[in-house]
Symmetry: C2
Subunit: 391 residues, 2 copies
């Protein structure tokens, strides 16, 4: 899309700050001379931009000496993990989680707190989240980290910063942003202090930044609900209203059992956590039964795997993902799901696609969404470092 404004000097400086920072982030420490060569900017411009980035605390002079492309030694500039950091938060059906990630994407803190959130009062749960934030923020401050923003993962649909519907929480139209009193220095820190997004989208980003780092995949989030986040060239595809990726309600059997969504025969009816567990109380218990060769547990995985194969066939035809990553509770169950799912994909897709997309297990486990939330803020800082400087 061509912008309707011409390029002018001030926006050029902001953009060039981002160009220099992206270069350091992607290809490691560089001297100022090497940065000039890589970006095509003059050395004087690069020096001035680096001075700004040092002031903002997003880069550091590592002291390490490294030859530029012309062989001259110099001080290397690298991403700083010492000052600016991002807060990731998650409300899920049976827990609250928080993590702090610095600009080198090192995970500095993680906290998970069990919480009975099913059919809950938002105000009460958000009070619990506020306590968790206070605790984590204090710990981050004690390590000298300044939280430049926070993002929250929720098990539901989000539109314009509002949690529209989280059926398992029993929440509708909850504006979470105003409720969490994030101790961010909002005057000097101009990054948006709060983002909220669907847990499957953020888990997909968690997988991208902290897991496999592959740029193209469909992340399948198996929880009580089943969601999916499609990443194409490193970006989440969100659809028109931000509601894309509702894999759990793809139709598997048109006249199948009723689903809580009002439809029939949706994937969730066959492969959601409730269907998989039956009368068992935890995924750990299911895994124990599977390892013991329990017939009912094996049959539940077979049914879920078959349904996943059908729904993912439709998803591959419509979304064209690079690969399929099974995450959430599907990760510990992967050993038993892998065969029925990949058999289904092969049988239905082989003729049209040569090879169906590879099926793999998530590398991030249960932390994907909360890590993705923090990573989203890191990404915003990288995209617009000028905002940290008030430009």
């Amino acid at each position: 899309m061509v912008s309707s404004r011409g390029v002018r000097h001030d926006s050029m400086r902001a953009r060039n700050l981002a160009v220099v920072l992206a270069t350091i982030d992607r290809s490691g420490p560089h001297t100022r001379a090497a940065l000039a060569e890589r970006t095509g900017l003059t050395k004087t411009t690069v020096s001035s931009l680096v001075a700004d980035l040092l002031e903002a605390g997003v880069v550091t002079e590592s002291g390490a000496v490294r030859g530029g492309e012309r062989g001259r030694p110099g001080v290397a500039v690298s991403m700083s993990g010492h000052r600016v950091a991002a807060l990731g938060l998650e409300i899920n059906i049976d827990y609250l989680a928080a993590c702090v990630v610095d600009l080198t994407r090192a995970v500095r803190l993680r906290r998970v707190r069990p919480s009975r959130n099913r059919d809950s009062d938002p105000a009460e749960i958000l009070e619990g989240l506020r306590d968790l934030v206070k605790e984590v923020a204090a710990e981050a401050e004690a390590e000298g980290l300044r939280l430049a923003g926070a993002a929250l993962a929720v098990p539901g649909t989000v539109e314009d910063g509002v949690l529209r519907s989280a059926p398992h929480l029993g929440w509708r139209d909850v504006r979470v942003a105003g409720l969490v009193d994030l101790p961010v220095d909002a005057v000097s820190v101009k990054i948006d202090p709060f983002e909220i997004d669907n847990e499957a989208n953020l888990a997909a980003l968690g997988e991208l930044w902290f897991g496999s780092r592959e740029p193209d995949f469909l992340y399948v989030s198996g929880e009580i609900g089943i969601g999916a986040g499609l990443v194409v060239e490193g970006r989440v595809f969100r659809g028109t209203f931000g509601l894309a990726g509702e894999l759990g309600h793809v139709v598997v059997v048109p006249d199948g059992p009723a689903c809580r969504c009002g439809g029939r025969g949706c994937l969730e009816v066959y492969a959601g956590q409730d269907a998989l567990l039956g009368e068992l109380s935890s995924v750990g218990e299911l895994v124990a039964r599977l390892e013991a060769g329990d017939g009912r547990a094996l049959e539940a995985c077979e049914v879920a795997g078959h349904a996943l194969g059908v729904a993912l066939t439709s998803a591959v035809h419509l979304l064209d993902p690079g690969r399929i990553v099974l995450g959430g509770i599907f990760a510990p169950l992967y050993r038993w799901l892998e065969r029925p799912v990949s058999e289904g994909l092969r049988a239905r897709l082989a003729q049209m696609r040569g090879r169906p997309p590879a099926l793999v297990v998530s590398a991030t486990g249960g932390d994907a969404a909360v890590l993705g939330a923090a990573g989203l803020i890191v990404q915003q800082i990288l995209a617009e470092p000028a905002r940290l400087l008030g430009l």
Copy 2:
């Protein structure tokens, strides 16, 4: 995505040419003074940019006088329909088509030629296409139009300019680009002389630029095969390998009848042209039977509409389209499909989405793909007018 290069002067000029041209294209004729106000560029810069655009033949001084925002009269600069034009081409299963569209998006020429392309020899069909191109190019030249590029719509999957697979044509891995000898002045015209894409994607763009002009929708192309093109904010979503939108092979009934794709119970089995027509020989004949109240014809539409409702439910959950546009043969059958399709969508989606996306009939009819092909070239010229000037 932040580019790895800084912004420099020469790329700035190319970009500003596009900014000025986009402003004229979007909001009509403007004086140079008004263009300067709208774009934030200086009047001197705008005058020099307009001189280049006049030389390239993409704008014209209409002679019409119109006050700038400061009230000063001046010569209005508008898009030119007189010199530069784009060629749209289509190979479908039973016809070849061509059209010429000028930069004001006026359709200057259209030609459709019946052709038996099912299970055909590519070389033979492309020879026919070459004849059609020669004829149309000569007519365009006689009108003083210079073809700045061509795009071709094909009923199959395309990757890197190669038609990978068009099962109804019986074609595999055909490189069409080299076979059509397009009489484009390739030395002075630096626009890519040839683009090739899937007919559903191009039909979606045809609907965008020549039909409803809504920026967000899923275009459903009913032909012998069924495809879909998702448009989000005016852009086609293509997936990772350019294979997204294969709606025809979304699973409707997992153990349904075998489909030619190797799967079972795909949408095409229930709602493709062959399923709808049965023993009838044309869509016109089917419409006549439907109008006469023929039971078998009505039943075929009921089955197709039900299957479309199921497949589109899955598509809405995964793709999140703004609206659903039924095109191709579904347009003349819309009267009979509308009720079963929208009933299916409502029953399955109402609870999760409040209202399912609106279901509407295509405004472009059978011409959507060939118009979209020409429109794609117009869009390329608008995005990079500098290339016409050899910048």
